[in-house]
Amino acid sequence: MTHLSEEELVERYYRDGAAADGAEDRHVEECEECAAALAALESDLNAVRRMDVPERDGNYGDTIWKRVSSLLPESGAVLSVAKGAELLGDREVPQGLKPGIFKWRANGTTEVAPLREKLLRENRPLLWRGLGYAAGCAVLVAGAFYVGTVWEHQQHLRQDAARAAEHATPPVQQRVVVVVLGDHLDRSERLLVELKHADAEDPELVKPLREEARNLLAANREFRDDAEKTGDPALTKALGHLDTLLTEMANGPQGLNAAAIERLQKQMNEDGLLFEVRVLRSKNPHRESAVRVLARGGTA
């Protein structure tokens, strides 16, 4: 058998459980080392056992009762924390009595304790003050609720008005068109070529010309104004001639009848407009990347 551990020696000293079995007894008798260890343990612990307790006389119980009874409340009384602390003086409040209110239970007691009445009387100003604070808080909460309600109501009214305005006045549907000068010149050139070969006797062929002229008119004016501002007389002049032609094509009072087409063809040839547009495209390639953003109304 191996030597007894210190824990086993302690168990043996106190004769705990199975520690004091025969095998251990025999081992301790035969093993000098374990016997010495147990003897040392017994010596130390026996010395501690000699601790004396001061004697308390026969009146000790009465003394304790006087101390305890001075802290006990009247039957059925409820002590406030302040009163409990006052009663206890500088003594430590026993654990379990510390929370909020001391409730002393005494079954069968129906009498209202004088101490309770006294505490209520003494605490009445505090009670009124507490009620005042509570009323103030209630007014604040009610006021905040009222203001919140009014504000929310007004928000709803604003939203309704805005919604109604939206329905009453439909917004102007504007198209944003990004136009590149090169494309504009391409389209203008094609239009001019078609106009040059247009057959006034066929209205189905003439009608798309009028529509295309309307589509090009706004962009043409934008590019013309830009050219004027930037000091490009050739472009300004060419776009000016084109503007005149497009305006007559788009808005002529008689429409594109045979006489109007003949007049426009003659005008285009006199101005050399088709040649002018082709020259602009070939001589000013850097301009072809110029971009204009057009916001067009529904009638554009």
């Binding site: 210190e6 824990e7 302690v10 168990e11 106190y14 705990d16 459980g17 343990l41 130390d44 612990l45 010395a47 501690v48 056992r49 000699r50 601790m51 004396d52 307790v53 001061p54 308390r56 000790y60 119980g61 009465d62 304790i64 009762w65 101390r67 305890v68 009874s69 802290l71 006990l72 009247e74 039957s75 059925g76 003594r91 430590e92 026993p94 654990q95 379990g96 009595l97 001391f102 002393w104 239970r105 005494a106 079954n107 069968g108 007691t109």
Partner: protein, 192 residues
């Protein structure tokens, strides 16, 4: 341990019925037993008196939850163990705070001399200061377990029930306490 006789049960019934003075019989009957326990646990007569008082106050507060078939002596003994345990823990916190307040930042923390000199030992030998000094290094739980086992001669099961821990935990607390007490006693013998 004092077993609950017929008079304990009668007194408890009277108290619960509203007769506050009936509690005096319980206090006078069990006070000395509780004082011995409290003194052994706290090592201080003033603290022991307060523990006894606190135990009776707490018992009065909880008297309605006391089961009549139980032994009042055992019941209030356990309450006193807890009161003493609370007192030990509170005292330990106060001592730690005192050390903190007394500490000198330049010279480091000054702690109480754990090994008193021969003169001091001779002066206070009668009140068992050797044992008290040896037990000062124990935690509140270890000290309580050691007192109950070594001085009150309670079984491991009784200690576990009083401290509301498992028997193994109670046994380990006793073992650690024995180890520490022996080490401190050895150190003090060398010093003396």
């Amino acid at each position: 341990m004092v077993s609950m006789g017929h008079s304990d049960g009668t007194a408890i019934e009277a108290v619960l019925a509203g007769d506050r003075e009936a509690y005096a019989a319980l206090v006078t009957r069990h006070s000395r037993m509780l004082f011995r326990l409290a003194y052994r646990m706290t090592g201080n007569p003033a603290d022991a008196d307060d523990v006894v008082q606190d135990a009776f106050l707490r018992a009065y507060q909880k008297l309605s939850s006391f089961e009549s078939r139980s032994d009042f002596g055992t019941w209030i003994y356990r309450i006193a163990v807890h009161c003493a345990l609370d007192r030990l823990q509170s005292r330990r916190r106060d001592e730690a705070r005192q050390v903190s307040e007394d500490s000198d930042p330049e010279n480091g923390v000054q702690v109480a001399d754990a090994a008193p000199g021969p003169e001091r030992l001779a002066q206070s030998a009668e009140i068992g200061v050797l044992q008290e000094m040896a037990m000062r290094g124990l935690t509140a739980m270890e000290r309580t377990a050691f007192v109950l086992r070594h001085m009150e001669e309670r079984s491991t099961e009784e200690i576990a029930a009083a401290l509301q821990v498992s028997p193994n935990t109670a046994k380990q607390s006793v073992y650690r306490a024995v180890q520490k007490v022996r080490q401190r006693l050895t150190q003090m013998k060398v010093t003396v």
